[in-house]
Symmetry: C2
Subunit: 301 residues, 2 copies
């Protein structure tokens, strides 16, 4: 029986590499696609002209399908979508916003659309909006996260019972056990973020990768819930946020503390003290420096 | 190949019913044991004389092995343990405290000991302390919870790699999918709380059971982190706690708000407004009124 996610995206393995800020440029995305998965360019940390460069480079680096992840709350969303359509990117993963408007526009142009959700309620809305697949992401995932805090283990069986389109599990998936367990829970495929963020082809700073690969279990926190829950490494910046929140800091105070460019500073520029180091709980299981090829060999052996 | 958890406890199915405050008296524990799992009496909400009554009633109601769950921080711990040893309870699950002291004492008397942890670090310490099995419980679990917030999906594969004694997964396990997925993740057995808390044989108040069985997904919260993280239904009391915490309430202020007997009020007396309604995230998947027998038939079919 053919896997529905493989069929939908025309890929060999039902493994999607999450589109992550400052990690997933054309190098990572094309490596994943060349290894039989679906690579995603993360538009969330790119200016439109930079995205255009990454799309064109990715096309040169792989003949296989690849996609772009687009947070719908992005200020330059129209420009981003224009580039994606003009460049005939075959697949778009949307997140952080309603899929209603853009799904119709993208699908009219022949683009395959998946949307990322953190609840069964929004998974159903995605199906109604006509998306081709849903990514259901649990509390353990890195970076921006759902308000419901529902874990992957609880979320996947519930979403599975509610929708009939292909379901992609995300959050906490890294080892072969968790890859296989995702299918047992009801998923048709998986989206892996953390393990790919920390591999050689990721564009993250080496210091960020090293820090995350030596992270003790339990050393990430989901904070900033008043402005948008985000999972990050418990470093100096994170400790500051935690302390502010424990004292009852307002959304405005947290925005000021966060300031601009905090995740770029951490993930891309390698500031381990003042940077916001977005990563998933499962980072504590990623300890080796790997290539994309090694990850596929481990998961699909 | 014989299952290690079944062999250890001499039970038919590797299913343990969590020892839960105000839910798991002799009726629930004996029903679980009679159906081939391991029933646990929850000592956490019992005065010593009440525990004695439940142990004796359980012995009369089942010829199969059963156990008692003991939070080690319980003020009357010496008295509780004396009763357990005198009554020759064959199995003890300890939690909330170090297993060092009591494991030795219990094992000397021939008791089989399991300890509940929320991290790999403490799982290793359990093995060193000589416990017979470890329960690793994820963030999604109801009631008292770990500070690390590691989810079941992330926790089980990591604990599995760190210990060699039998591993019991807990947190978010309710459906057949999650039951099977637990084994794929590396567990030898499962501990199920929420689904048993809401069945007919549970001693919880009917209003509590009804409320939890109609709970929307995402409608529990892990709060009270400053005094001891606890997962509960988002009711009026929970909203008050959330608001206090958002304003930066101190541990003392939270203790005052919590006051005494709050979970008894909610779970046992059925006060849905002012009670603390401890339950796991997976409650949203439990919608039917079931008997213990129905649960075993569903999971083990």
């Amino acid at each position: 029986m053919e896997n529905r996610v493989c069929k939908l995206f025309n890929i060999k393995y039902p493994i999607i590499q999450g589109g992550m800020v400052w990690c997933s440029g054309w190098k990572l995305a094309s490596a994943v696609s060349n290894n039989g998965g679906l690579g995603l360019i993360g538009a969330g940390s790119m200016h439109p002209d930079n995205l255009l460069h990454h799309i064109r480079s990715c096309k040169e680096a792989t003949k296989n399908p690849f996609g772009v992840n687009v947070p719908l709350l992005y200020p330059q969303i129209d420009e981003i979508m224009e580039i994606i359509l003009k460049e005939r990117v075959p697949i778009v993963f949307t997140s952080a916003g309603s899929p209603k408007k853009w799904t119709q526009i993208l699908k009219k142009e022949g683009v395959i659309v998946a949307h990322v959700v953190s609840s069964t309620l929004f998974a159903k809305k995605c199906e109604e909006a006509g998306v081709d697949a849903v990514v259901a992401e649990g509390f353990e995932a890195g970076g921006h996260n759902g308000r419901e805090e529902t874990t992957t283990f609880c979320l996947i069986p519930q979403v599975k019972r509610a929708i009939s389109i292909p379901l992609i599990a995300a959050g906490g998936i890294s080892s072969r056990e968790s890859y296989l367990a995702s299918f047992v829970l009801g998923a048709d495929g998986v989206q892996i973020g953390t393990r790919f963020a920390l591999c050689k082809e990721s564009s993250a700073h080496e210091l960020f990768k090293e820090r995350c690969r030596s992270l003790p279990e339990g050393d990430t926190r989901l904070l900033l819930k008043k402005i948008g829950p985000t999972r990050m490494v418990y470093n100096h910046f994170c400790e500051q946020v935690q302390q502010a929140e424990d004292m009852g800091a307002s959304a405005d105070a947290l925005r000021e503390l966060l300031s601009k460019g905090r995740s770029k500073k951490g993930i891309f520029e390698g500031d381990m003290i003042e940077g916001q180091l977005e990563i998933g709980q499962i980072a504590s299981m990623v300890t080796k420096e790997e290539r994309v090829k090694d990850i596929f060999e481990d998961l699909c052996r």
